[in-house]
Symmetry: C2
Subunit: 421 residues, 2 copies
């Protein structure tokens, strides 16, 4: 069946009437390459089907939640069994205790955990706990790092007031000198240092964590009595079976979790070490569905698979195969790629492509060939992907490179050109 998007177009027209811009947030395809489907009908394993019935190998994995494969049988069996018993009740399910124990067992710095719904809930709780614990206000975070979508951290200035951004100092990720300067600037008011697990900002090359940066952050927090927070919402369980900073031997005080911890079921969490338990128990943080039992049952099942399977090695192996194959295919067509980030969280740019023109052209061709890739947000591999999936991807990628080559000179996208400056 040839690729088509008439059903998606019809849905977009209906959506435009009842949803601002027809869609919003990180899953709006308005800023994505032409042809990108907006609405999906089905998901299974590593695959998605859009409203027109087109099948895709999905390298976005729901922007992170799909770690083990969509609709994973063991995880979903645990979820639906708990759903049949009870989900959002007048108190948490018995399974909340199991889920909290499983999280604490999994995260080496954690002595306690608080569950919530959005990643932003976890980062905002971290903010409040750090400020209450220290009795101070100022936080340091890295320019360009995403920590959520509420006024204190939204990446957009729209609807945000100066007071929303008060008491914040920005530094450069991976630059210990910049971090030290920020700490000096905060003086005696430093409440927290927020840090992404790696540099996984949009629009720019990813960077691994500089261990020296992590160690300086830890030392500076210790020296000043500030709280060190690692925001592992996007990368948690994808880089390690523990907090991502465990890979460089640095333990944060608080870590933020979400996305993959229940393999797509709605659950996020803030984990903390002992000295911060008291402050954590003092802030007011809650939400209508935070204590629903079914996603916690899914988390218990997910964490069991995290411990007992080779999901991590598999997502890395798949990512390595993809990276190597794409480099080879690009070279065959006279292109060079900049592939950054860990293999299992790949980000792919065409080299010498200011304004992302080639990248958009290539990804648009891939979409029409049943491969979902993203032009400027890191992607993900999942444990349901097979070598055959990657090989099929590479074949289609090669066709897309050939088309891109044949297109000759491709104009940069003006709006994106500005973002690279």
């Amino acid at each position: 069946m040839a690729w088509s998007n008439s059903a998606d177009k019809a849905l977009r027209e209906r959506a435009a009437a009842v949803i601002p811009n027809g869609m919003y947030g990180h899953q709006s395809v308005a800023p994505l390459p032409d042809g990108y489907p907006q609405f999906y009908a089905k998901a299974k394993g590593a695959y998605l089907w859009d409203a027109d019935g087109n099948e895709y190998i999905d390298y976005m994995c729901g922007y992170g939640p799909n770690l083990l494969g969509y609709g994973h049988p063991e995880v979903d069996a645990a979820f639906t069994a708990q759903l049949a018993k009870g989900d959002a009740m007048t108190g948490p399910g018995v399974v909340m205790v199991d889920a909290a124990e499983a999280m604490v067992r999994q995260i080496s710095h954690a002595h306690w955990v608080m569950f919530c719904k959005n990643g932003t809930d976890a980062t905002t709780m971290a903010l409040m706990i750090a400020r209450h614990h220290t009795g101070r206000k100022t936080i340091i975070r890295a320019k360009g790092a995403y920590h959520g979508a509420v006024p204190w951290c939204s990446p957009s200035p729209n609807g945000i007031t100066p007071a929303d951004r008060a008491d914040q100092i920005f530094c450069d990720y991976n630059d210990p000198a910049s971090l030290e300067a920020a700490v000096r600037l905060a003086g005696s008011d430093l409440a927290a240092i927020f840090a992404a697990p790696i540099k996984h900002d949009v629009f720019v090359d990813q960077e691994p964590l500089d261990p020296e940066y992590a160690r300086r952050a830890r030392a500076l927090a210790d020296e000043t009595g500030a709280v060190l927070v690692v925001d592992d919402v996007r990368a948690g369980l994808r880089l390690a079976r523990d907090c991502s900073w465990s890979l460089v031997g640095v333990q944060p005080d608080l870590s933020c979790w979400g996305k993959a911890i229940a393999n797509g079921h709605p659950l996020s969490a803030l984990a903390g070490s002992e000295p911060f338990r008291r402050a954590a128990g003092t802030i007011f943080a809650t939400g209508s569905y935070w204590f629903a039992a079914a996603p916690m049952a899914a988390a218990v099942a997910t964490l069991k698979l995290i411990r007992e399977t080779d999901y991590l090695e598999r997502t890395i192996r798949i990512g390595d195969r993809l990276r190597k194959g794409l480099d080879e295919a690009a070279e065959q067509h006279g292109f060079r790629l900049r592939q950054t980030g860990p293999s299992q969280m790949p980000l792919i740019f065409f080299d010498d492509d200011p304004g992302f023109g080639k990248t958009y052209f290539w990804i648009s061709a891939l979409v029409r060939r049943g491969v979902l890739m993203h032009p400027w947000h890191n992607m993900f591999t999942c444990a349901a992907m097979t070598e055959a999936d990657v090989d099929a991807t590479l074949e289609r990628a090669s066709d897309a490179f050939a088309l891109t080559r044949a297109a000759g000179r491709i104009e940069p996208i003006e709006a994106l050109l500005a973002r690279t400056r």
Copy 2:
């Protein structure tokens, strides 16, 4: 089987090790009467079962999400059918368009809707949209009214900075003069007036909406160009099949929804009228699971039942029967109750009970008799409750009144005494 709580106690001990205070947020039973179960095993219809197997008629309804009955067959069938197809994917499900259309059809002031997860997400989006739309900062909200649990609106000062509460003016709910004074104080910087649908604050008698207050709020918003926001998260679909203010003929600009709209499945929403669509499409608001399809399928099924069944009249009838019966039973034992709020969202205080001593004693006795009531937060009836459930409640309530009478003088609870001053 006699009531017991050994399993709950054992769970609390385990929870205390891995969760701050063993539990947090609105579902922590730490501030509730003795014997209140913390963890639940099962829910069905109007009933809950705790970890010890004790059965309860549940007048808390999950603090709101349970409108039609726990595990409602039609709603949960829609949810699980969509879950089997796909839930949290790389884009929203096709069903998002159906759900948005159903919301817009249901809410007479709404031309568009944005889905989210927490009620707080909806109120925070309203805040950002109002500020972006007007280019102003100041918001007015009523003292004691709950609008969420993030720094701008948390009911606790812990972890909150002065900047978090900048640009806010408080007024007295239902007092048009107080509202007008607040509007004058805001001067040319008024961005929004936030309002609860009725006064449903904790610890104090509920109050119906004064229609004059609603009309003044509308007129003042119109005169100043500010945005009128009704926070219908808790009461939405419980007072009307439309925004709660439709009952007094006043349309807000934005309304916040959650809790009951998917009968317990995790979904909240911000609905708005046409002039605010542009600003709504300009703010950045998103969350990992906001676009998950299964809760939206549940919302479509819930809204169909909202339109096609007598759920609303039923919850009122049940509430009326409960209110009348409790008044009679109280009187028989020489007590007088202050029952406030709409019948389907009852709040019950013992008259002449400063410090809530009698209320706590009575509710503690009810818990041991299989009835869950709350001493200072409004309760809810649900459409799964029967007249027989109410009659069983009244019988147990009568026993609990007798015990309370027999207890003689009951000391006030010091910590709560302070809240009533």
